[in-house]
Amino acid sequence: MSKYFGESTLRIRHLREKIHEKGYAVCSQRARILTEAYQKYESYPIILKRAMAFRDILSQQDIFIEEGDMLAGNQGSFLCAAPVFPEYSVQWILDEMDEVDQRSGDKFFIGETQKEELRKVLPWWIGKTLQDHAHAIYPADAKLLYEIGVIRGGHMNACGDGHIVVNYDRVLREGLIGFKEQIKKRREKLNLANYDEAKQDIFLQAAEIALDAVICFAHRHAELAEGLAQKTHDPARRSELLRMAEACRHVPEYPPRSFYEGLQAYWFVVVCQQIESNGHSVSLGRFDQYMYPLYKKALDDGADRESLLELLENMWLKLYSARKFRCWKDARFAAGGPMYENVTIGGQTSDGRDAVNELSFAVLKSVARVHLTQPNLTVRYHRGLSHEFMSECIHVIKEGFGMPAFNNDEVIIPDFERLGITQEDAYSYSAVGCVEVAIPGKFGHRCTGAAFLNFPKILNIVMRGGIDDVSGRRIYIGKQFGNMTSFEELFHEWSKAMSYFAKQSVVIDTYSDMMIEEVVPEAFNAALVDDCIDRGKNVKEGGAHYDFTSGLQVGIANTGNALTAIKKLVFAEKKISCQELQTALDSNFEGIRGEQIRQMLLNRAPKFGTDNEFVDEMTVAAYNEYLKELPQYRNTRYGRGPIGGTYYGGTSSVAANVIMGSMVSATADGRKAYTPLAEGCSPTQGSDHSGTTAVFCSMSRLPVEKLAGGILLNQKLSPSSVASLSDEAKLENVIRTFFDRLNGFHVQYNIVDRTTLEEAKVHPEKHKDLIVRVAGYSAFFTVLNPQTQDDIISRTEQFI
C-alpha cells in the first residue's frame, strides 16, 4: 500500500488479486469463430470477410462480467484469457501449445478443451497465414538477415501490428454513430461505376459492419448485466449492474453522458481493437484531456473524488487484464508479457498553455495506487509544467514501479513540425507503447517498431569482412579487420555496411507491410483514424492523415564504445594489434591475454554516458551513418494519401537488447558473447558510473532531430536519493535541466530494489552505476563488497 497515495478500495484490491491469481490463459473461441467465418464468407473480399468475422466474434464469443467489476467487456471468454489470432501465424501455436506452461517466462495456461479446439481449427490455416505469405515473398537477401538475427522484422507477421491511437476524442464527442453517419454520407456520394470508388465502398461497408459489431457487443453486455442484476441479492451490486446495463445500451454508440459512461465507451473501443487485431501498444492517447469535460461534470454534479478514483483504478485493471499470447521467440523480446497500453497526461494545449488539470492528478494517484505494469503512464513534460505536478510525478516514481515516464514537448513538438505536421497537431501528440510518439487519431500504425536493426552484430560482421561468425553465413565480401591499417578504413566499411543494412531493413518493412495490407486489413480501427473514411481506405492502404515509419536501432552505445576502443587502443595507442583483437573476440576473450584485452577494452577507453566528447561523438558518427540513409526511403503508403510516408530513426527497443544480445558474439567494447546489449539509447550496463548528470550531457549530443521514433533512456535511482523533500526538488531540477537545456527526449526512473542489489553482490562489475551518494563520502564504484552491499541494502530498505 502506498503511504502517500493511500489505499485502493476493497473491491479494487480483490479484483487486482483475482487478476494476479488468474495469471495468463488462452481462449480458443476467437480462433474457432474466425475460422468458421473465413470458411463461410470465403467469396468476399478480404476486408469485408474480416469485418464479418469480427462481427461474428463479437456476437458469438462468450461474455462475462466479473464479480465486483464496474466496467463491462473482456478480450477473451474468461478473465485473463488471451484470444488466439490464427490469421497471423499458427505453426508456433501447434508446436508450442503443449509447452507454454513450462516456459521460463511469459507462461500461459491452456485448458484441455481449449487445446482440442485449437488442434481442430488451426491446421486449416497452414499456408494461409500472414506469416506464410510474408515468408513466401521475402527476397533472399533480406530473409537471410532476418534468419541470422541482424534484422528482426517478422514479429509483426506472427503477432500483429498495433501501435495506434485512434480518435478517442471524437468517439467521446460523437459516439460511433457519428462515424456511421459519415460513412453513410460518403457511400451515398460514391460512383460505383468507378473502380476506385467501388473499392472504397467495399472498405466503407466493412467499416460499417465493424462499428455495428462493436455496438452489438456493448448491447450484449447490457443484457447480461440486466440478467445478473435480477439474480443478485445485494442491492448495491444490483444498482451497479443496472447502471452498467444502461451505459452499455448507450455507449459507445452515442456520446457518453457521464464520466462513468466515458470510461465504458473508452474501454469498449480499446478492447475491441485488441480483439480485432493482434497488435500491442494500442494506446489511449491524451486521456486526461479527452476525459476532462466528463470528469469535471462529475465533480460539478457533486460526485465524490474517491468514487471517481475507484472507477479510474477499475479502468487500469481492465487494461492490465488484457493478454497477448506470443510465440516464445517474440515473448522474449517483450519480457513480462506487456501490452504497452500507453496513457498520456500533462503536456500543453494547442496554444501552448499547461494542459494539466485535476484529472491529470487523479490519473497519477490512481495509477500509483494500483501499482501495476499497465497502463504505461507517460507525462508530457514542458517548461511550464508546475512544480506541484512535477512533485506529484516524483511521488509516483518513488513508489518504484518505473512510472511515469517523461516525454519532452520541447524536443518532440519541433521534431514533428519539421516532419510537416501542423503546429496544432504537433501540440496534441501522445505517447504510443512506451517512448514512441504519434498524433492521436491521425497517425497510421507502427510509427515506430518496424524492423529492429542489430548494430553490434553488424559491426562484428563488418570486422569479419561480411561473415556472420555466429551462423557462419556470408552476407557480402568485404575487408577483414585483421588486414586493416587505419581506423578510417574500418569506419568506411561500417558506413558501407550501414547503407546496405538500412536498405535491407526497409525491404523487410516493405514486404511485411505489403502482406499486412493484403492478408489482414482492419476495418474497425481504420474507421476511427482520421481520413480513412474520407478516402475510403484502411490504414495500410494510406488512409491515415499522417503516416511515418521508424525502425528500431539496438545497441547504439555498444557500437560507439566498441569503435572508440578500437580507435584508441588499436590504432592510436597501438596497445592491441588488429589480429590480437580479432583473436580475442573470436575466442570470447579466452585465456589470460584475452581477459587482459577485455579489461583494456572495458577500462582504458571511454564509454558513452560518462560525458566524454570523444566517445559521444563517435557514437553519434556511427549512428549518423545509418540515419543519413533514411531520407531516401519511403514506406508503402507514400504517395497514396497521407502526409509523410517517410522513415526516421528510433531507439525504443523494449527488451530487444537482451534477446538481440543473445545473437551477438563478443564485441570490442569488452562485452562477452551473447550477453545483453545496451537498452535503447541508455549507456551499456554499469558503464554510467559518473551519475545521471553525465548521462544527460552525453545524451544531449545525440541527433534528436532525426530520432522522432523515440530515444529511450532508463535511469536507476536509489531510494535514499529521493528520501526528503529537498532531494525531490533536486531530482525535479535535474529533470528540468535535461529537458530544458540538454535536448532530452525521454527519461524513466527505476528505483533500485533489493533484487538489483542482491544481483550487484554477485556481479559488482555490472553495477558500477549503482550510485551511492552519502554526504562527504567518496564512492569508489567497484567497492561493492558484501559488507558495503548489506549496508546499501539496509539503507535502501529504510526508504522503501
Binding site: 587482459q596 548528470t693 554526504a775 567497484t782 558495503t788
Partner: protein
C-alpha cells in the same frame, strides 16, 4: 609554464552529489587531513601523499603488476610490500582490470576548475561546487585559488570542513557555505576519537559566526561514541548559540570499510553496527527536545 607549486593533490571528483550543499553539487575531494577520526569513511583521504590501492575482486591474476614493478614491491598479485613501494604507478599502468590504482592526482586550479564545471548547466538552476576531503584547508593555497576562480565565475561554493585549519585561511576563502563538522564537544573525548583537540575547531566556528558567514553544522552520529545525553545536549546548545535551527545528522555508515582494506589501513570500527531506524528516531527526538531541528542525511 605552469607553476607546480600551485598544484593540489586530489583523489576524486564526483558529480551529482545531493547531500553536500544546496542543489546538485560536484564535489572535489582533497587529500590530507589533520584529524584521524576512527570512523573516517574516506580513509584514502588522510595522507597527504599518493597511495596505492588494491581491490581483490577485480584482480584477474595475470601477474603483469609483478613484472612491471621496478622496486620489487609487488610480490604477487595483491601482495604488496608497502615499505618498498615508491608509488610510481608502473604496476597500475598494466593493471587493465584496475585492481591496482593510484589514489591521488596532482592537478592545477585551472584544470580542476574545468573539470568541476562539467555540470555547469545543472548548477544554473540550483547547485554548485563543494570542496571536501580530507580537510580542504590542509591545502589552503590551492583551495583558496580554486575558490577564487569559481567565485569569479559566479559558481556557488561550499566546503566540507572539520574546522581544524588556520583561521585566516577560512576567513579569506571565497566560500558561500561552510558545511562544518561538530563531532564531539568534550575535548578529552574529541582527542580520544580524532587524535586532536577541538579547541581550534570551536574557535574557528566562533570566528566564522562573528564574521557573519553562512554555516551549516553537521553532526556525524556515532552510536556509543558521541550519542550521550550530555554530548547531544551540548551539540544542540551550540546550534542554538549560533542562531542556527538545523543540524545535519549524518548517521554512521560502513561504506568506507572496504577502502581501509584496499590501502591496507587498520580500521577500528570494522565490526561496528550501523544505526537502526528505531535508534535514529530516538536520537532525533532527543535533539528536538533540546530545541533544534535535526535533518538526517544532510
Amino acid at each position: 609554464m605552469k607553476n607546480p607549486d600551485k598544484k593540489g593533490l586530489i583523489f576524486d571528483i564526483q558529480r551529482q552529489c545531493i547531500h553536500d550543499g544546496d542543489g546538485v553539487r560536484t564535489v572535489l575531494f582533497m587529500k590530507g587531513c589533520p584529524l584521524r577520526c576512527a570512523w573516517c569513511a574516506n580513509p584514502e583521504s588522510q595522507e597527504m601523499k599518493v597511495e596505492l590501492a588494491f581491490l581483490p575482486q577485480t584482480c584477474i591474476g595475470d601477474g603483469a603488476c609483478v613484472l612491471a614493478c621496478r622496486k620489487d614491491a609487488v610480490k604477487a598479485p595483491g601482495v604488496i610490500a608497502r615499505n618498498l613501494c615508491i608509488y610510481c604507478g608502473e604496476c597500475t599502468k598494466v593493471c587493465y582490470a584496475e585492481a591496482l590504482s593510484l589514489i591521488g592526482e596532482w592537478i592545477d586550479p585551472e584544470e580542476a576548475c574545468d573539470r568541476l564545471l562539467r555540470d555547469f548547466v545543472f548548477f544554473q538552476r540550483s547547485g554548485g561546487v563543494t570542496i571536501s576531503g580530507g580537510e580542504p584547508f590542509f591545502q589552503a593555497k590551492f583551495v583558496k585559488e580554486l575558490l577564487d576562480r569559481l567565485h569569479s565565475k559566479a559558481i556557488h561554493t561550499a566546503v566540507e570542513t572539520c574546522g581544524y585549519a588556520k583561521r585566516e585561511d577560512m576567513l579569506e576563502a571565497k566560500v558561500d557555505q561552510f558545511l562544518f563538522d561538530i563531532k564531539i564537544i568534550d575535548e578529552t573525548e574529541h582527542i580520544r576519537w580524532t587524535g586532536c583537540s577541538n579547541k581550534i575547531i570551536l574557535d574557528n566556528l566562533d570566528a566564522l559566526y562573528q564574521a557573519g558567514r553562512r554555516i551549516t553544522l553537521r553532526f556525524p552520529l556515532l552510536p556509543e561514541i558521541n550519542d550521550s545525553e550530555e554530548n547531544l545536549k551540548a551539540t544542540a546548545d551550540l546550534v542554538r548559540r549560533y542562531g542556527l535551527k538545523e543540524l545535519h545528522v549524518l548517521p554512521f555508515h560502513q561504506l568506507g570499510s572496504n577502502k581501509y582494506q584496499m590501502i591496507q589501513k587498520e580500521y577500528l570500527l570494522k565490526k561496528k553496527a550501523i544505526p537502526t531506524n528505531e535508534y535514529l528516531r530516538k536520537v532525533v527526538q532527543r535533539l528536538v527536545e533540546n530545541g533544534i531541528h535535526p535533518v538526517i542525511g544532510g
